[in-house]
């Protein structure tokens, strides 16, 4: 790994870097997104008004309803339990609630409010669960994992046998088109002739209960859902796999082979390669309509930067290098856990000529992009907007948020069809930016 870690050793008695412009968001954001994927899911943020904002942001991609407990100085000193009880009922009545998540915040965690006690004494006629939302404990990504596990621990029923299904554990909130990806992955999984149950994508609570009947759990992305997958394994004895995300033709073929292997399905490499070839044929047929392939030629010499969470960044770099012959000159892993061995292993898989930066700091990302001055940028809208002044850049959004281009119909970049969508968008972005 020719990587540059962003972590100068922390001074004694100091935890983590002393200052960052964070790439991650508050835990409340992650939890609200997960609860929002359960129909009738409502969250009550037990904290001050500012803490309602991450829940508000979650409404961008999910249907979550939210409220907050109006915590103020008085409640911090004397406790906010009475207020919380009232707010529980108010929130329940206002929102057609079928599931209530009470999210603690930094303030309520520090003062030690007995949220579970209040939930028990409130006696709401729907399930009410506490989620730890203190930002000093978890990032939004860690909170997504934890919230999924909390829900499964509560609602997964005892296994009474197999229905032959596959659980697809969705990568909630991983980027702005994660739902489209999961629809695409579910379609890929149906090739095995089994029922597929996407988990945490527009579920009823009964879906979580029924997940115990599956034969296999597949993580849509290896960096989201590990804790939940372990709950499924522990409580229902369901094995799980977390293959690299199916970004590009090769990785999609690999992904299908990994699933086939785990299911004991006789799918052969030749069969999945035939599917990849079908996509390549569509690519060439489609190109026949345009007079020039220069955008693809441009990739070979362009300065390309990829900025995303490690699993996605590595996968897009792989796609670019192996399938479009454009090796990124800069790959930035956005992470708060740069010492994670799995993330380091991903960095080792990147092309030797790529500069690899591992950081949780947007300021560092900005500096790296300014220095690299890419012609093509795969990243988030923030990366793009910040870099916009530095010169013309072809931008494709692959990290959260990427909403500068609106897709009203599902449009995944994952799987065989998704790879074509990605290639289309990349082609068009290069044409728009560079002629």
């Amino acid at each position: 790994m020719d990587g540059i870690l962003d972590t100068a050793p922390a001074a004694e008695g100091v935890s983590g870097p002393c200052m960052v412009d964070p790439v991650t968001k508050c835990a409340i954001f992650g939890i609200a997104q997960v609860v929002g994927e359960i129909r009738g899911g409502t969250v009550l943020v037990h904290g001050p008004k500012g803490c309602a904002f991450p829940a508000f942001e979650a409404t961008h991609l999910s249907q979550v309803r939210f409220n907050y407990s109006e915590m103020c100085e008085k409640t911090v000193i004397f406790g906010g339990e009475t207020l919380l009880r009232e707010k529980l009922w108010e929130t329940y009545h206002d929102n057609d609630t079928l599931l209530m998540g009470v999210i603690s915040t930094c303030s309520s965690e520090i003062i030690g409010d007995d949220i579970e006690g209040v939930i028990a004494s409130a006696g709401l006629p729907v399930p009410v669960l506490k989620f730890e939302g203190a930002g000093f404990k978890r990032t939004h990504r860690q909170a997504i994992d934890n919230a999924m596990a909390v829900l499964l621990k509560r609602f997964l029923r005892a296994r009474e046998g197999s229905d032959g299904s596959i659980n697809l554990l969705c990568h909630v909130g991983a980027h702005s088109r994660w739902k489209d990806d999961c629809v695409e992955l579910a379609a890929l999984l149906r090739r095995f002739g089994r029922p597929v149950r996407p988990l945490f994508l527009d579920n009823d609570l009964s879906d979580l209960a029924a997940a115990a009947a599956a034969d296999l759990t597949v993580l849509a992305s290896p960096d989201v859902g590990d804790e939940a997958a372990r709950v499924l394994k522990r409580k229902a004895k369901i094995p799980y796999i977390a293959p690299p995300p199916p970004i590009g033709l090769e990785r999609t073929a690999d992904w299908l082979m990994a699933v086939a292997g785990a299911l004991g399905d006789p799918l052969s490499r030749d069969e999945v390669d035939a599917l990849a070839d079908a996509s390549r044929r569509r690519f060439w047929t489609g190109l026949g309509r345009v007079s020039s392939q220069r955008p693809f030629e441009h990739l070979r010499t362009a300065r390309i930067a990829v900025v995303a969470e490690p699993a996605a960044a590595e996968a897009y770099a792989h796609l670019l290098t192996r399938e479009l012959e454009g090796t990124p000159s800069l790959v930035i892993f956005k992470t708060t856990t740069p010492d994670d061995p799995e993330e380091r292993a991903l960095a080792d898989k990147l092309p030797a000529t790529s500069r690899v930066v591992v950081t949780g700091d947007n300021a560092r990302i900005e500096a790296e992009l300014r220095a690299a001055c890419p012609d093509i940028l795969l990243g988030s809208d923030l990366d793009f907007i910040k870099h916009q002044g530095a010169g013309r850049v072809a931008y494709v959004g692959v990290s959260y948020p990427s909403t500068r281009r609106v897709y009203l119909n599902p449009r995944s970049y994952w799987g065989f069809d998704g790879a074509l969508n990605f290639v289309e968008d990349l082609f068009n972005a290069v044409t728009d930016a560079h002629g």
Partner: protein
Amino acid sequence: MTPAIEERMGLFSELVEAVEADLVRIREGLDMHQFCAYWGAHEIFGYIDGAVCVVHGTSGCMSNRRFLLPFGGADKCHLEPQYTTAFSEHDVIFGGERKLAEAIALVQERHNPKLIAVITNCCADIIGDDVGGVVRGMEKDGQRIVWLHTGGFTGKSYRKGTEEAFNALARLMAEAPPKQVVPGTINLFPRRWVWGENQQREAAEGIRMLEKLGLKVNSILRKGIPYEEFLDLRTAEANVSQCFFWSMELFEQMSRHFGTKQIKASNPVGLTSSLAWMEATARTMGIDYDFDNDPEVAELKELRERVRARVGRGRKAVVWTQTGEKLVGLVKFARDLGLDPVAVGVDPAIVRDKMGMFRKELNDGFDVPLYLSSYVEEIKGFVDSLDDPVVICNEDYFPGRVVFRHRYNGQQTYGLEGARSMYGEFLHALDNRRSRYSFLREAV
């Protein structure tokens, strides 16, 4: 009107007085403009080029600042470094003072800014980190460091954080070497929640109105104002704002320290309010301006008459917008057009938060009938109970009705040009009821 609707009717003044007397059991609403105090303070320090703001606390709070990006919006503040000391559990237990000292040193090394502002969030405030003790003595030559407690748990709102930041900045102005006030000059404070081309338009119109009166604009408080220019706001004879209430704390402090005149007229929305804004400015600056002989004013009066004639007499307007300046501004705009406004969706929690502003408006003679509800279905029922009203709102839930949907941050609003633009849009709204198939109508 049904008895159920009549039961919920009242006057705005009655609500304000009841809130003032603590007679209303107030539940905080979810008005998403009511951010935390740290947010309001961060926004103000973010105006100043040459200032770096560090939030002492968790990183989650800081990343909330960029919530607009996923919704397709971006302002200059989203692109500035948004530094936080990123509290972990370890810091909550053992304190984060050392981290803060290192963060300040890092800011000095990386940016060497003229001003460092340290603001806190809940964690640092609850555990009682001695922020003042940490920053004391860390200032370098030619640099100032200010700090504020802005944790949201205090109940302090965005507005309070804004005011505290302005207060801190006014102290810096007062401590700077004295400068002469230049007579006949004025600072313009445009509205804050406006960006892009519209921000430029609104600022340009503010300047044009002041220059029409023969005044020289000293400075415009804008995002990206250099630190020295901010300090030099004190060289102006007066301050005027398109939204007085967000800037009033700085106005007050500058009046106290430097005798800067305050023009308290606000919201130049529509011709009547725009002329009132200009007249108040002229009066304060001792200028005699003949508005009756201004051809532009005459032309706008003519245009307004066309709108009034088209509206008809005694027609109701239902005004549904954020509880605040915009509500007051649009109620006055409705009256400017001869409409009979009723405000809906008023949030008592925000009335409490903005009491100073509403009290001033009532003292100045403002009042409006209220229908007390914030629920879409109820407000639709209220609209249906009226005879062909005009609905003035942010979101259009009213198929088949005349709806004037106006957003301050995207459409020109202020001053004479704003009036011209709004009258034109209003005429269009009167003649073009939105199709039930319009994508731009809200989906419920």
